[in-house]
């Protein structure tokens, strides 16, 4: 199937509604502090994660009853939903609250992500900022756009390539192997400024709107990356896996790197990751 404008409008409205209803009222709300640890003190799930995913899932289910729906929280119950993305006719991948550590800490750097895949290809990506109510939307082959809460829409574009020591970037080396962490961490000293946001929604947002030059990750859960990768690519950027192959729905191994263009990508892989 191919997505129509009205499908995209529906999905953007669905994410915005869920964020306004289930996320924002719980942000910095002392009456809504139920937080559970998943794998560690920084891998958390909150009531907002669960309720937002339910609301988005229900809305999508009504309109696309046969679609395969993958959410970060439902995955915990059945991990086989991820490999099924590789060939599903129509699938929706939801990260209800990306940046849960920030959200639970009262930091406004969190977002909601939604990707649409058709037969193993991402065809639409949505990154929503619940705090400001603004949204980035990409449709495969049709570009990436900034949709303001006000309704105004403008195209977005990645940054122009610059020299390594002028770059501002993010590399989440915390998921790299133990022996590689200090190497990558030390190599980040070569760039102008290293950030880390612990929120792929805002990381892809900054890279896709040209505010930072690169982002990289070594943990590839699909809800963290599918939407952002398409937004970045449609904004003119170069994103592929660390081995140079395209990133596809259903894959969870390897790392991923986004840069303004292929030349910058190769330079960052060499100088920061030490991969020749």
């Amino acid at each position: 199937m191919s997505l129509l404008d009205k499908d995209i409008e529906f999905l953007v409205a669905t994410v915005r509604d869920a964020a306004a209803t289930e996320i924002l009222p719980r942000f910095r709300n002392p009456d809504s502090q139920s937080v559970a640890e998943k794998t560690s003190s920084i891998d958390l799930v909150t009531e907002a994660d669960i309720e937002t995913e339910k609301r988005i899932t229900a809305a999508i289910r009504r309109l696309y009853p046969d679609a395969h729906i993958v959410g970060e929280e439902t995955y915990d119950a059945d991990p086989s939903v991820v490999p099924a993305l590789a060939d599903a006719d129509l699938a929706f991948v939801i990260d209800p609250v990306d940046g849960t550590f920030n959200f639970a800490s009262g930091l406004a750097a969190f977002g909601s992500l939604l990707a649409v895949t058709v037969k193993g290809e991402t065809v639409a990506g949505i990154i929503h900022d619940p705090v400001m109510g603004d949204t980035l939307v990409a449709v495969k082959g049709a570009g990436a756009h900034f949709h303001r809460r006000s309704g105004e829409v403008a195209p977005i574009r990645v940054a122009a390539p610059v020299a390594l020591d002028e770059m501002v970037g993010i590399y989440a080396w915390g998921h790299a192997t133990l022996e590689r962490r200090p190497v990558i961490a030390a190599n980040m000293a070569k760039i102008r400024m290293a950030l880390s946001l612990n929120c792929s929604a805002h990381e892809y947002w900054l890279a896709s709107t040209g505010k930072i030059h690169f982002i990289g990750h070594e943990k590839l859960m699909p809800w963290d990356h599918l939407a952002g990768v398409l937004v970045h690519q449609e904004a003119g950027g170069y994103t592929v896996k660390l081995d140079g192959t395209p990133y596809r729905p259903g894959e969870i191994s390897g790392g991923i790197l986004s840069a303004p263009d292929k030349e910058s990508w190769k330079m960052i892989r060499r100088e920061i990751l030490g991969i020749w």
Binding site: R28, P30, S40, S41, I42, A104, S105, G106, L107, A108, A109, D129, V131, M132, D134, R148, E166, V168, G174, L178, R181, P182, A185, A186, M188, A189, R192, M193, A194, L195, S196, L197, N198, H202, W205, L206, T209, K211, I212
Partner: protein, 274 residues
């Protein structure tokens, strides 16, 4: 004579600056509104200057005898910084802390103010324009989170877990490259370290008990005086990297904050080995 502060009026001033000069410009920056200051990353915006002007005018009414030290004022007259340590009374302001984030459209920035009396920080306020709420501390009275509806919640730092489980902030950008490399290698031993490029929110997260350390190298007073006092009032231990107290006259020497002196020493001896 003890100092009588109209701290509520000062907090209202930051709130007004955020509402009038800061929020209307967020994500609406035209190309002409961001220009070079000292370096490409050190962005300053119309919002920064306009907010400082508004705050300066209000402070002149509330505390007419106070020396006003703002980031923009010091950029215009660097001698102001040297006067801070000796002033009977001074007000130090960062109109927008986190200017890179602000200019990038990332909603992590804040407005900070501290009141200095004879070389000592006596009050601090960290205001969040997005949430319209603020942290406040007067020396000896605890640290408080003030919500827009008037509710106040006392803030306490969390006890530190073992080193491998600690989460914190490390700003390594202003060290020489070898020191920076060494600290980054050491930091692989903690659970997570990060830098949101916004001291206002880093102090807020730390005082809310969500993080276990903060480390800064460049110590401009508008970035750290308010946050250090608020952290101390929330129970934290703060000192420069040589162990000496951090004072309003200091601009270097590194600053490390931890929940307790024991965790401070652990971090100093294993991570921030300078």
């Amino acid at each position: 004579m003890s100092l009588e502060l109209d701290i509520a009026s000062l907090a209202n001033t930051l709130q007004e600056a955020a509402a009038v000069e800061i929020m209307p410009r967020f994500r609406n920056l035209g190309e002409g509104d961001v220009r070079m200051k000292t370096e490409a990353i050190d962005l300053v915006t119309e919002a920064d200057e306009a907010a400082e002007r508004l705050i300066r005018d209000r402070v002149a009414e509330i505390m007419p005898n106070a020396l006003f030290v703002g980031e923009e004022a010091v950029a215009a007259d660097p001698s102001l910084l040297g006067k801070l340590g000796q002033a009977d009374l001074a007000v130090v302001v960062d109109p927008i802390d986190g200017t890179f984030n602000f200019a990038s459209g990332l909603p992590l920035f804040g407005v900070m103010m501290s009141v200095i009396s004879k070389g000592e920080t006596v009050a601090g306020i960290i205001f969040d324009p997005l949430g319209n709420d603020w942290l406040i501390a007067e020396k000896g009275s605890g640290a408080w989170l003030c919500a827009p509806d008037g509710n106040q919640t006392q803030m306490h730092v969390s006890p530190a877990p073992e080193l491998s489980q600690m989460v914190g902030i490390a700003n390594t950008g202003y060290f020489d490259i070898e020191t920076r490399r060494k600290i980054l290698v050491n930091l692989a031993d903690v659970r997570l370290f990060t830098s949101y490029r916004c001291a206002a929110h880093e102090y807020r997260v730390f005082c809310g008990g969500h993080m276990h350390f903060l480390m800064y190298n460049k110590l401009m007073p508008w970035d750290h005086l308010a946050g250090t006092l608020i952290s101390q009032e929330a129970g934290a231990y703060a000192a420069r990297l040589d162990g000496s107290p951090y004072l309003p006259s200091h601009v270097d020497g590194g600053l490390l904050l931890a929940p307790h002196k024991d965790s401070w020493n652990l971090l100093k001896n294993h991570i921030f080995t300078i």
